[in-house]
């Protein structure tokens, strides 16, 4: 069975990619992901804001109370070389590249223009096979227009593309008025891949403590619907590779995504829930399913259910809505 696929110019041995998660914080785990069958690893995101915050916190807290009281002019040993998040991240890339043969994709969540460019360059220098830009951005300012938000994405992409030679993917949220056009613009701006979709850390409320709480649960298989739709719609219409992420818990979701046209399928939740070795199980099940149905390769299956290839393309648009209503009627109103 030929599971090979090409994702933004990277030759992958199969479409299963471990997406950004705490699993990639450790080289040993990255190695285990490779051993379990993952075709590539997206590292956890380097958050520029977090690095800045940590730098500030470290500066503030190590100097707090210093030079104020004659008996204690400082409270911590003087340390010459601190390794902040960035250095450790880059070091991890280096070590991961040495440890595994599969592509190691760095993930970057920038804050400032300089941050996006500078960190992307340093990731490339550290040996990242590609960079995934994790544009996590909530336009909370109600003066910001949709156009401005879109421009921001395009601008970030352009800058990073201008700074590095390795492939650059963009992980996106679905919250654009016209996502298809947005994808097109990013494609034209040089995106090597679009990763659909980002899961936001959405706040929750603790009603006993009257506090806003931050948490992110694992994804559910039902969450594949939105990415599935857009991958099916975009397949064949953009030059960029497409990666699906969200809701992959079994071979079924992988197969669906590939059929929609995904070049790579990413998962984290399933591995966090079932352990790293579960990747092997997923691939085995995909292979078994394909064998049972006589598929010879992933390429053969890729895009078979995309908008361009399905018998009734309207199913991806208004039709989907109609069909659900019809089903609803037939099930309960007969």
């Amino acid at each position: 069975m030929d599971l090979k696929t090409s994702y933004m110019g990277l030759e992958l041995r199969n479409p299963l990619v471990a997406s950004a998660s705490p699993l990639s914080e450790d080289v040993a785990n990255i190695k285990r992901l490779e051993d379990a069958g993952a075709a590539a690893v997206v590292m956890f995101s380097l958050f520029e804001e977090q690095i800045r915050y940590e730098e500030e916190a470290m500066t503030h807290l190590t100097s707090y109370g210093a030079e104020s009281f004659g008996e204690a002019l400082s409270y911590f040993p003087e340390v010459e070389d601190f390794q902040f998040g960035a250095e450790q991240y880059l070091d991890l890339i280096r070590r991961a590249r040495d440890a595994v043969d599969i592509p190691v994709i760095a993930s970057l969540n920038g804050l400032t223009n300089e941050g996006w460019i500078d960190y992307a360059k340093r990731m490339e220098e550290a040996g990242a096979s590609a960079i995934e830009l994790n544009v996590f951005y909530i336009p909370a300012n109600i003066e910001t227009t949709g156009r401005e938000v879109e421009e921001r994405y395009v601008e970030i992409l352009r800058r990073v593309k201008g700074a590095v030679a390795i492939p650059v993917a963009l992980k996106l949220s679905p919250f654009f008025s016209a996502f298809g056009n947005m994808a097109r613009r990013l494609d034209e701006a040089g995106a090597d891949a679009l990763v659909l979709f980002n899961r936001f850390y959405q706040p929750d409320f603790d009603i006993d403590r009257l506090e806003v709480s931050l948490s992110l649960g694992l994804s559910e298989p039902s969450e594949i619907r939105l990415p599935l739709t857009w991958i099916a719609l975009l397949h064949g219409r953009v030059r960029a590779s497409l990666a699906a992420t969200r809701g992959v818990h079994s071979a079924t979701e992988i197969i669906k995504y590939v059929m929609a046209g995904a070049d790579a399928v990413m998962t984290t939740s399933a591995l966090l829930k079932n352990g790293i070795s579960y990747a092997g199980r997923l691939l085995h099940d995909v292979e078994e399913w394909m064998e049972a149905r006589g598929y010879a390769s992933i390429e053969q299956m890729k895009g078979s259910m995309s908008e361009q290839n399905v018998a009734d393309p309207t199913a991806f648009k208004r039709g989907n809505y109609i069909r659900i209503l019809e089903q609803y009627k037939s099930a309960y109103m007969a």
């Binding site: 730098e55 190590t62 707090y64 009281f69 008996e71 204690a72 409270y75 040993p77 340390v79």
Partner: protein, 1192 residues
């Protein structure tokens, strides 16, 4: 070859030599010598090698006694070994010092000389400590400047190896140890040239080895001890010549020539002052100045004080001398004179006795004391001494620098006498500790010091308060090397980094005529003038001061730097002062910022750069008006209602005028009134908590945790509301049965430090606005008048009746008046809430023995102290003995109480006939467990006293003097982990084992907080501390389990932030337990590297993670047949790192040694689980297993 020039402080200058010339550095932190050990530790952790290519072993011990023992051991086995110490630390080394000298062992101890604790502790500099060691047989070499601290460190090392005498190399604590100055740096090659290998090999060869077995340290008998003691004489005879020869070699190498006794001044002087240490520099300046005016005076610097060479001394004295004044920076009460004076007198008289001097040619010699505890020693004082020598009948045994109206020892001096060179730029900066002023100034000195043609000096005066502390930086720059080891009295540049400081009387007093004043002002250039206090306006006009302003807080804030205005103010200094060309200076500041913050992140650097650029745009010169327009006076230091002592004495110290207090005003035995912080409204926070009575559930949590006792509650009758001022807040008392009672919570807002722990702990929220609690921080200024009025009314409400309060709940305790209030501890301190709590519970019958450390500083450092008294005049009596002996000291309190009570009981029974058996029995049988019982006992004692006063017998008078002992006395032994786990551990262990009724409260911050974050045995595994830069590899000592092993000690581990009720319960049980009790109290600390506002949250996480399991071991339960071990917290339920990595002390390691951090954290997690299992097993053990006699 030209020597490299660097700017260093004295500690680093000395440590740099010590480190490079030794193989072993064993240390224990003590101010002001701690930085020497810290530098050594840092260099070792960086892998720096000594001149022989080895990284010295740097080891922190449990005490200076331990350090001396370890040094003795490493010396005896042939390693080049050293230590750094001061004051009480040096005293603890004395026993070993006799041994080391007796065995003719080469070593140098570097001492930042400091006062000894007598009537009070002082961290400041004088020679009391080194003088206390002069009989040990050690050679003593005194440095007078930062350059000398560097050079003589090497000369001492070389001389010691050659002479085989151990050396104390000392320099003045703070004045030299902490002064930054420019010096010629000795290279490794210089050091190698000074210390020939054969000397090192010979030292090594004298070490003990089984290959050449010998024994040393025998016990000798009357037959030989005496003779053996005399065998060392030749070594002492030769030593001065050896030292001088080493100095000559040093001069050949470096061009800097030193002599055992160096004379400066007119070669034909008639008047000469003899002294050692930094004061020499002052005298040299003064002598030079006076001689240019035609005087004929001189100064003799003593460098080698021991062995004292009379012949060398006399040789150095000009033959023309008629009068000599010997200045000692120490006091030896009862002696015929201070030590150096006696040596000089002896030198002259021995010479006369030998017949080498004729009677008439002997100069008159007088002695005097100066500069104790870093008391300023200025050219004016030096001149006074020289003037005194010119008198016909000069005063002997004088003092200079103080006004002694008690014994009339002091010399008058003209404070306006000044010798400063007009070419020297003299700048004084008034800042807050928190705003980074000192750091920026140290930086400026380094920047300026890089210019080969400019010399620089910096000295920094710190506050005795740890929160809201003020710093004063004294910087000098000039074309000539700068000596002047005294504060600037006439500054041509004054920077005031806080607008409010202008209200201090001393702010502009040291500004020279025509000086420049740089003011951080929230007001604009066109409006600031009218905002200045009247006195400031007047001074500015009179002295023709040029005024510049900048709104530094705005510039800092706009560049994301919060309240760190250091870079902004530093830029202004360079822009205005003209010390360096402006552009060059700006470029260098940026360079320095890159160097300082580069390792901490690019963003921090960028923000600083932006702030620097914006500073110049925001710096404005103010057109000074020609007339005074303000009528704003400077507020009174203390109100007229304060007690007389506070008004006359304390207020002077508070105003920064303590130097003016004459001896007659000060208590002669160190006894001071308590409760003086209440007179000092420091208003250090711009924010204070505001109470919302409608939301409040009256739980008492906020007051419970307030580290500064600024939140108080009272109950009062509804009817009293009529006289309350408008805006006075109160609410009906929640709870049934008190319909007419109102509840009020008062914030002592001007005493608040703004830590916001109260807000963090408040459980009540507004239903309409999430996040708005029953207590919230708000700007103080707009509500200040209302708050003051409310406070005045609050204080008029009578205190709550203690006998009616429920002591067993947090809710009840809020009504007890704290007798520990408004301390100078850090904002949000984790220790003080515990002290406040015990003062509320037991304060009126409590006596406190306090180990030296943070708690003795915020608890006992003048001018104002927090231990207080109640409206009846009762409250904690407090004392600090030493660091190492606190448990023993407190045991002494108990022994007195027990002895006096026993005697009182005996007398009471003897007088039973006269007193009536009912009263006698009641007095002796009262259980005094509940507060109501204690109140009843007080009534009985009062009745007893009344009766005794009517009896005319010796027994009655004796009993009267003891009758207060019938009220159960609560003895508290308080200290930090440095004391309990390390230096005082042996004593603590012994006191716990004594079975006596003492209560030990260990305020466990898990690190030496007061001396700046050195590792203790309480420091947890995986945490970073000084001397554990790579993370502490060993787990924290379990002091609780050790104490529990005795079986009869009440032990508790508490954390107020995790379970305040358990804390309260444990403290009450401990106090009630009639034997020894030990309470280990988790105390969050700025040395943990946390936002102190989250201190309580961290306490909870410490417990939830299992790092700090809450336990109680109550022997009374065992007596009742139950399991005495109670585990009061849940099994670990969050990962240790969830707790630990909120703190810089742990997180730092993940950024310096990530893999090691991971390894140690895993180890710590594992260790914690194992410990938990032990606890769990103990808690679930069958009751009989805790009994001495088990019935199977």
């Amino acid at each position: 070859m030209t020597a490299k020039r660097v700017t260093l402080d004295g500690n680093e200058a000395a440590a740099s030599i010590a480190y490079r010339t030794n193989e072993v550095c064993v240390i224990y932190p003590i101010t002001p010598s701690s930085p020497m050990g810290e530098h050594a530790d840092q260099w070792a952790s960086e892998g720096r090698e000594n001149v022989w290519g080895c990284v010295p072993a740097v080891v922190e011990m449990q005490s200076e006694a331990g350090a001396a023992g370890a040094v003795h051991g490493s010396l005896q086995t042939g390693a080049l070994s050293t230590t750094f110490t001061a004051s009480q630390g040096l005293l603890l080394m004395i026993p070993n010092m006799y041994k080391i000298a007796g065995e003719l062992t080469a070593t140098v101890f570097h001492v930042a000389a400091r006062s000894l604790a007598a009537q009070a502790l002082s961290i400041f500099g004088d020679h009391s400590d080194v003088m206390a060691t002069r009989s040990t047989g050690w050679a003593m070499l005194a440095s007078s400047s930062v350059q000398e601290a560097h050079d003589l460190a090497l000369i001492a090392q070389a001389s010691s190896l050659e002479s085989r005498l151990p050396f104390i190399h000392f320099f003045d604590g703070f004045r030299t140890s902490h002064e930054i100055n420019k010096l010629d740096f000795l290279s490794d090659e210089d050091i190698r040239a000074m210390i020939p290998d054969p000397l090192v090999i010979a030292h090594r060869g004298r070490g003990l080895t089984p290959d050449r077995p010998v024994m040393r340290g025998s016990a000798q008998n009357p037959d030989v001890y005496f003779q053996a003691r005399e065998t060392v004489n030749p070594f002492y005879t030769q030593a001065p010549e050896i030292v001088q020869n080493v100095m000559e070699r040093f001069a050949d190498l470096t061009g800097r020539r030193y002599r055992l006794f160096d004379y400066f001044g007119d070669p034909e002087a008639e008047r000469v002052v003899v002294l050692m240490g930094s004061g020499v520099e002052t005298l040299r300046e003064t002598v030079e100045h006076l001689n240019t005016r035609g005087d004929s005076v001189g100064v003799m610097q003593v460098r080698l004080y021991r062995p004292f060479s009379p012949s060398q001394f006399l040789k150095a004295v000009p033959d023309t001398v008629k009068a000599v004044a010997v200045l000692d920076r120490t006091k030896e009460p009862g002696a015929t004179g201070e030590p150096l004076y006696q040596d000089v007198v002896a030198a002259f008289s021995e010479k006369r006795a030998n017949g080498s001097l004729l009677g008439d040619s002997i100069p008159r010699v007088i002695g005097g004391r100066y500069g104790l505890s870093s008391k300023e020693f200025t050219p004016a004082m030096a001149k006074a001494v020289l003037d005194e020598l010119a008198r016909e009948q000069p005063k002997n045994h004088f003092t200079v620098g103080i006004r002694d109206d008690l014994s009339d020892t002091s010399l008058e001096y003209d404070p306006d006498f000044d010798v400063e060179s007009e070419h020297t730029v003299r700048a004084v900066f008034y800042g807050l500790g928190a705003d980074g002023t000192v750091g920026a100034n140290k930086n400026s000195i380094k920047i300026i010091g890089e210019d080969d043609n400019i010399f620089a000096q910096g000295y920094f005066v710190y506050d005795s308060k740890k929160s809201g502390s003020r710093t004063v930086s004294h910087l000098r720059f000039g074309p000539q090397p700068i000596r002047s080891p005294y504060l600037i009295r006439s500054a041509n540049f004054v920077a005031c980094h806080q607008f409010g400081f202008l209200e201090r009387p001393d702010m502009l007093s040291h500004a020279a005529d025509g000086a420049t004043l740089l003011l951080n002002s929230p007001h604009q250039a066109d409006s600031v003038w009218d905002q200045l206090p009247c006195a400031a306006q007047k001074t500015i006009i009179d002295k023709q001061i040029r005024l510049f302003i900048i709104d530094a807080y705005r510039v800092a804030r706009e560049n994301g730097m919060g309240t760190r205005i250091n870079t902004v103010m530093q830029t202004c200094f360079f822009a205005i002062s003209g010390v360096l060309p402006r552009d060059e200076a700006i470029a260098k500041i940026k360079e320095a910022v890159q160097k300082t913050y580069g390792n901490k992140g690019e963003d921090v650097v960028r923000r600083n750069f932006e702030a620097i650029d914006q500073t110049l745009e925001n710096l404005h010169q103010v057109v000074v008006a020609s007339t005074v327009t303000s009528d704003r006076g400077v507020p009174e230091i203390v109100p007229a209602t304060a007690p007389q002592f506070v008004r006359d004495v304390t207020a002077m110290m508070m105003a920064g005028r303590g130097d003016e207090l004459p001896t007659s005003r000060l208590p002669e035995d160190g006894t001071y009134p308590t409760g003086t912080t209440r007179w000092e409204k420091r208003r250090i926070s711009m924010f204070a908590p505001i109470w919302e009575p409608d939301i409040c559930i009256q739980c008492g949590n906020c007051g419970f945790v307030c580290p500064h006792s600024v939140i108080r509650t009272k109950l009062f009758n509804q009817s009293q509301l009529d006289s309350a001022p408008t805006g006075f807040r109160s609410a009906p008392l929640s709870g049934r049965g008190f319909p007419d009672t109102r509840y009020t919570l008062q914030v002592y807002a001007e005493d608040c430090t703004g830590c916001a722990l109260c807000v963090e702990v408040c459980p009540a929220s507004s239903k309409e606005k999430s996040g708005f609690r029953a207590i919230n921080m708000a700007p103080l200024e707009p509500v200040l008048d209302e708050v003051r009025e409310g406070l005045q009314y609050f204080e008029s409400i009578p205190d709550n009746d203690r006998s009616r309060i429920d002591f067993s709940t947090v809710r009840g305790v809020q009504y007890l008046t704290p007798l520990f209030e408004f301390s100078g501890a850090c904002a949000g301190c984790g220790e003080t809430p515990y002290l406040k709590l015990i003062s509320q519970l037991f304060g009126d019958r409590m006596i406190v023995a306090n180990a030296t450390g943070c708690s003795s500083i915020y608890g006992g450092n003048l001018p104002t102290t927090p231990w207080s008294m109640n409206s009846e005049g009762r409250g904690p009596a407090w004392s600090n003995s030493l660091f190492e002996d606190n448990a023993e000291f407190g045991l002494g309190f108990r022994l007195t109480a027990d002895a006096h009570r026993a005697l009182a009981k005996k007398l009471l029974l003897k007088l039973q006939g006269e007193l009536g058996s009912e009263l006698v029995n009641a007095l002796l049988q009262s259980p005094q467990q509940e507060e109501s019982q204690i109140r009843e006992q007080r009534v009985r004692v009062s009745a007893l006293k009344s009766k005794l006063e009517t009896l005319d017998s010796d027994d009655a008078r004796r009993l009267l003097s003891l009758s207060n002992q019938f009220v159960r006395r609560s003895v508290w032994i308080v200290g930090g982990d440095g004391w309990a786990y390390d230096i005082g551990y042996g004593g603590l262990d012994h006191v716990l084992a004594s079975g006596r009724d003492v209560n030990v409260l260990v305020l466990d911050t898990e690190v030496y907080s007061n001396t700046g974050g050195q590792m203790s045995k309480a420091t947890p595994l995986a945490a970073v501390a000084k001397f554990a830069t790579s993370g502490k590899p060993i787990a924290k000592k379990d002091l609780a389990l050790q104490a529990i092993s005795y079986g009869n000690i009440y032990v508790a581990r508490v954390a107020m932030g995790a379970n305040p009720q358990q804390t309260l319960l444990a403290l009450r049980e401990a106090e009630a337990y009639p034997g020894p009790s030990l309470i280990l109290a988790y105390s969050h600390c700025i040395a943990h590297g946390i936002n102190m506002q989250h201190g309580l949250r961290q306490q909870k996480l410490a417990v939830d993670s299992g790092h700090w399991p809450l336990v109680r071991y109550n022997p009374t339960l065992r007596e009742k047949g139950s399991n005495p071990f109670l585990l009061d917290s849940q099994p670990p339920r969050v990962a240790l790192k969830k707790y630990a990595y909120n703190e810089i002390r742990y997180r730092m390691l993940t950024r310096t040694h990530p893999r090691e951090a991971e390894r140690l954290m895993a180890l710590a997690q594992e260790n914690l689980q194992v410990k938990w299992r032990v606890y769990e097993e103990m808690a679930t053990r069958g009751d009989p297993s805790f009994h001495f006699t088990r019935e199977e």
